[in-house]
């Protein structure tokens, strides 16, 4: 029972959500028989400069000085190991379901690179997980899935697991703690203000 989908790209980043997305794709998506129909597992590696920026503490002297070749080489090797681990995990899942898939690795900004790859491969469908960050982190880090759903040239499936529910509680918790913190801050300010007035 061959399907109608030609090229399906599943974007993985090592998170559980993306592995879930891969499983969803294999369970629900019907490809045309090969060679037209193909499942492509895409992993986007962050470029070394970004990797340094995210963990400045792990680099002695704490600078994003990627000009030092030894550092760059070490970072690249580390990235390569992460990529291999992610792809191995993805391929294990494929083997469980008896599905053959090709892997594809690109280096760059995840959201732009995913859309580029989808464009160049003329993909019919993009499947990705939802990182389930709370609303605050999403504001600063941006959401890859949101960007891709707006800019990809093909339909995008954002797969959520039970994690979707957990995210809501996490959001609620983070919002209540933030509200509590703000309240404390306000009270503290009022106290110091009244003390200052008394002093006057």
């Amino acid at each position: 029972m061959a399907g109608t989908l030609g090229c399906v790209v599943v974007s993985v980043d090592g998170s559980d959500e993306s592995m879930n997305a891969l499983r969803w794709a294999m369970d629900n998506v019907r490809l045309r028989s090969p060679p037209e129909g193909s499942l492509i597992i895409l992993h986007v590696q962050s470029p070394p400069s970004i990797a340094v920026g995210i963990n400045p503490g792990s680099i002695p002297f704490g600078g994003p000085s990627v000009e030092v070749p030894a550092f760059t080489a070490a970072i690249e090797a580390h990235q390569r190991r992460i990529t291999e681990a992610v792809l191995n995990r993805a391929l294990e899942i494929c083997a469980e379901k008896n599905v053959t898939a090709k892997t594809h690795v690109v280096v760059g900004d995840p959201k732009e690179k995913i859309c580029e790859v989808v464009d160049s491969l003329h993909a019919d469908l993009l499947v990705m997980g939802n990182r389930a960050f709370g609303p605050i982190k999403r504001l600063f880090l941006g959401s890859v899935s949101k960007y891709c759903s707006n800019h990809a040239s093909c339909p995008v499936v954002i797969v959520k697991g039970e994690a979707g529910q957990a995210a809501h509680w996490g959001m609620l918790l983070s919002l209540t703690t933030q509200a509590w913190f703000l309240l404390l801050l306000y009270v503290h300010n009022v106290k110091s203000l009244s003390r200052a007035l008394l002093w006057l």
Partner: protein, 160 residues
């Protein structure tokens, strides 16, 4: 005897984009599996209410409302008809069409809850950042808030 089939909900409005999304959903998830479709399909049309549409009209709103209501009902009938034709042309059965009045965002998320859907399919108008900020985006809202996987289908722009 048959296991409960997972539920797919396709949200439509009166735009071409959402019919393209319905078309894609049927093509990719139903047509290849005929006649054993893997999903139970619900097509939900969120009918705007006359009061919300006339919200900004102000003083003259009361007179306009009945005409607005009749017009909206006509549009809804047209949408349901068109959807039915598309579904029949793809030879898909076991489809339920629903027209629910209200704001599309809430209607679709509630429909997901009600039917315990596993996939929600939406078209996207493909607004840019500014339009999105002003008009709001149903697909963005549902992608965040729906408790199920969301498929967002953009109609490809015709190349010049």
């Amino acid at each position: 005897m048959a296991a409960e089939k997972p539920v797919m909900i396709v949200g439509i409005d009166d735009s071409e984009h959402s019919f393209y999304a319905l078309d894609r959903a049927l093509e990719h998830f139903f047509v290849p599996h005929a006649p054993n479709f893997p999903f139970k399909l619900f097509v939900v049309y969120a009918k705007p209410s006359a009061a919300s549409t006339a919200g900004f009209a102000g003083a003259g709103a009361a007179e306009v409302l009945p005409f607005l209501e009749a017009d909206l009902r006509r549009v809804a009938a047209g949408v349901v008809d068109k959807a039915k034709q598309l579904i029949i042309s793809k030879s898909v059965n076991d489809v339920t069409l629903e027209v629910i009045e209200g704001d599309a965002r809430n209607v679709l998320c509630e429909a997901v809850e009600k039917h315990h859907a596993s996939v929600l399919v939406l078209g996207s108008h493909g607004y840019g950042a500014i339009k999105r900020a002003v008009l709001g985006s149903v697909s963005d809202y549902c992608a965040h808030h729906a408790h199920c996987s969301v498929m967002i289908v953009k109609k490809p722009k015709t190349k010049h």
